[in-house]
Subunit: 341 residues, 4 copies
């Protein structure tokens, strides 16, 4: 039994994280913080987390001294910049940190500055931080005191594209990723485009080829010095949760769908939370909402020598909070699937 605290517990990511943690057999939630709404019950903020079957928890301001004493791990769900600094304060007090912000994902402080517009407060930690994708860094995560939980578009894109690059099947300069995300991906931002009356019955691209998850994807799909350069277009889907990405790339040699699928099946055979679908079956959002799975489907366009790989996951689940719990399981030596499904 470990004690976990959530730093920044009022957003969608924080609420989803608490949902998983409350049901986890090895975790007791110690503290929840909120700078803007301290002193509120979690069940009044996340009204689906009714407290009748557990102890009620109240938000408090983040005082690292106090929280560190009661916590084996903290999950930092703060805006970038702020998250990096808070994470450091807990690391300095011997608490393991899983950071759900973007702060420790990029290995290069220069790239971080370019995309996030500020100097990284603790660049020395960038190298140490484990990129929290268990499918790629399982051992490093298990040994880490700081895990950078990946972005939702990044997790989807990397898991979907990685086998193609790992086995050298495609031209790494030919990758086009057409991604679609539900609206919780934007958090609770009060911007007109996220209003129901604007987003409902609507669909459009945004951040066209200029989304902050692009460098994270390129960093992580690079294999053996082969630097991919992707075209990445996210769209806003009128659903609450879920991401589906289509990855298009040129095959280096002729291949059937069955052959391409075999590479995927082999690559993910031992992975508890990546499911490769049979030929002719493609992922859909409703299969991955509120669980920790990434589902992948593959089709080869033999006429044009192109592979089409689809990946889907829940932007609040495998794209954020349940992946954070999977990382926690690794860091504390629990069964990797403990409390997850």
């Amino acid at each position: 039994m470990i004690r976990a605290s959530v730093i920044g517990a009022t957003g969608y990511t924080g609420g989803e994280l608490l949902r998983w943690l409350f049901a986890h057999p090895q975790v007791e939630v110690a503290h929840c913080t909120s700078e803007s709404s301290p002193g509120k019950s979690i069940s009044s903020i996340h009204r689906d987390l009714t407290s009748k079957t557990r102890n009620e928890i109240f938000t408090e301001k983040c005082v690292p001294e106090t929280i560190a004493k009661d916590s084996d791990v903290v999950f930092t769900c703060l805006p970038h910049g702020s998250s990096a600094r808070t994470a450091k304060m807990f690391l300095d007090r011997g608490v393991k940190v899983i950071d759900l912000s973007a702060d420790y994902r990029l290995k290069s402080a220069a790239v971080y500055k370019k995309w996030y517009g500020l100097a990284h407060p603790h660049p020395q930690l960038l190298k140490e931080a484990a990129y929290g994708l268990p499918e790629k860094y399982r051992n490093k995560i298990a040994a880490a005191r700081l895990v950078a939980n990946p972005g939702c578009f990044a997790t989807t894109s990397i898991l979907t594209a990685l086998p193609l690059l790992h086995y050298g099947l495609i031209d790494p300069k030919s990758i086009v990723i057409d991604a679609k995300s539900g609206v919780t991906g934007a958090g609770k931002k009060l911007e007109p485009k996220y209003l129901f009356s604007e987003a409902n019955e609507n669909f459009s691209a945004y951040g066209v080829n200029h989304h902050r998850h692009m460098p994270e994807i390129e960093q992580e799909i690079a294999v053996a010095g082969n630097k991919p350069s992707i075209t990445f277009v996210p769209h806003l889907l009128p659903v609450n949760r879920g991401i589906l990405a289509a990855v298009y790339a040129t095959l280096k040699k002729k291949m059937t769908t069955r052959q391409a699928l075999e590479f995927y099946v082999k690559f993910y055979a031992a992975e508890p939370f990546v499911a490769v679908l049979p030929e002719g079956v493609y992922p859909e959002l409703k299969s991955v909402q509120r669980n920790n799975f990434c589902q992948i489907g593959v089709k080869v366009d033999e006429r044009n020598g192109r592979v089409i790989a689809f990946g889907a996951l829940d932007n609040l689940g495998k794209g954020a909070s349940s992946q954070a719990v999977q990382n926690m399981n690794l860091m504390f030596g629990f069964d990797e699937t403990c409390g997850l499904y």
Copy 2:
């Protein structure tokens, strides 16, 4: 051909009004105003109103002197208080006004103050203003220089309940109205509850028995000194447009559904935009979205001596902008259905 201007053209009501006015064979749109976004093209604000098939119009700040010269009628779509003052400025310059705010709907300045929290700036106009429900005030509207366009919940509730009170069929103290509205009813307010991620896949009551349209409804369904006192509960529906209200009331004497329907059919026989549905058919939102109709269905619960009347309309249509155009048609002597459907 008349010239019409829209004061406050950037909201949902303004956009919908422009959609009807651009297609109206007797209207030329002269000016559109916006205090917050002057100098913008209408097609960039309301992107569905592409300008390729008409002259582009640009928003400007509201200068009554200028606009009055070019306008036979102005539609004021401003926040309450502000709308009353602006309307007066145009009336003083000889321009007819259709006010889409709540400012001239209530006949009592005291009731206005109670519900809207401010002293009415021009209480002397309250008596003069015609309540813009053609089904009740057709002649008064035709002769008016100031029309107070009704609220969306009010139009729905009044049209649905009125025949019951007009023919004295029900106990006026027994009325319960359970109403459901699409999210555009709230305008473009940047409040968390109107975010897609909050409103989508959700449903709840709000303003329970304390909604500003209540006094308007009670004022207008009062018949011959019989003062009804209603229970009114609005709910927020996860759809963009449309209101459906269920009116429950105790019948004074036994009656079949067929008999109740006959009263409705008679009452609305000559009305171009109120459709009474056959026995066993009930209104639905998709039948009234983007048109100017109110559809009504009726059922008698014979076991309990209670009538159930359902009314549906588009909160931006018959509940706001197309009703305003219907009022305009009456004020200028056009066919009442001109440019409407």
Copy 3:
């Protein structure tokens, strides 16, 4: 550890039931049946139930002899009529049955025949069957071998209205229930009105005052011979899951909202899965989706001497499958909240 089988596992109720059972620490799922699709993996039917973290289960045709041997309890999720007969076959083989159909809910075979159009195949079991609402029949359920799991509209309406009748606060002839349900309430019926293009952006009443859950509600809210007679109007909401009902009734004597709420708080104080909300807070669907809670909010319309009580729950959760698991917990002596939240 008990072994549970699901008879009729391919519908929404069956899928949701499996979701809860797979995660239940005291249950092993033994068999899943499907007459129309035998031999299919559960993970291919309910694609969100990916089998990578559990043993895969395959549907089979229902052979009571075989299944009875391997099962401590069966959940029958079949059409009415068929469900009653199947339940009997398992009871005869000593297996406890939780029937999610309507077959054993009504105490009167005559009322059953009137509303379901067929003679009850086993009327002698109607008296024995426990009505599976733990809040009312906890002890009877714990001792039962046959539990009739309540309907979704019925659970919502009963839990919301019961305290008013229990404490004699209202006129039992004055009850109006305006209920709204998500589309999964209709199962996977291939009827035009359940098509996305018809139900989306739409809203309407159906089965107006003639819904099959009406007699069930009236049977269960009757208190001490006081026979209520309700007006009941269900509506189809454009959401996947969730029911919200507004119960309107005339108070016998003056009362404030606070006083009315006190009765509810007292009535449900010890209930793990009924949450009475504070004054001014009303239930919403998103708070009860995918959990086993019923949330209730209350408001008194003092002007008209009327109480308005709102209840919300998930039609597939507390309105069906998770309530069935709650009943199972009681029948097998587990903690009532075991595996639920």
Copy 4:
């Protein structure tokens, strides 16, 4: 004033067509046919087309002799195969035909047979039929007695990709089209995947690289013998109406977004219903729903030498019924924008 009849008036395409025709100043609707539901009022089938402001029309079985006498043009909205035969019967009787099925779109009877699985009943008409895309075949349409109204995915893809091929800007073998369509694109088919509970909050690809509009797109974007070979992936969007397609292709030479946009602006300068958006603005569904516009946005990925072009339109509007009216305007010498917006 011309007389138009709609053959197959009960589907979504037929309903939308009637909405446009009823409002068209030069058209009188003569007959509406339905083989499955003859004798029904249009206002009871398409409940938004309330008949109070026009003459009611009743469906009848299709008797070409009768209907031909009263019609200057018929719109055939029938399943493929059937539509081709019916169109021929009207042509033989001297009536102009706009066929909204796929039957006369492909120039090759062999390709038709491959994709639609049946021998074309009137292959001799394939050459004569004008492909009803005014932006490409304006003059041919104006002179035609038979117009093959394009498919919705085809119209979107062709209008979005055509300038790139016309000006020779891209490698014609590099085109990837990732398209997303609202659910009305599937008509009123009673298949599980089109149920609200399945399609809502969901998103997935279908017909991956094997959709019937593919050969139509390739036929029409071929320029001067340059035969493009596309990868085409449609997805099902949880909205009622609208298509958005992203076209990705490799540029033959370096180019900025501004330069690419200039080609589009020039190509569509005179087109009343194609709007090219400014740099940095991308099309969205809500801007094209219920109007006849196609909106296009363009972005160049300079790093990878790739162009991304987005096109959006209403699958029932410019993708079907309002485009049919645009074709009708051309065929009868009306202003091309008459009755459209």
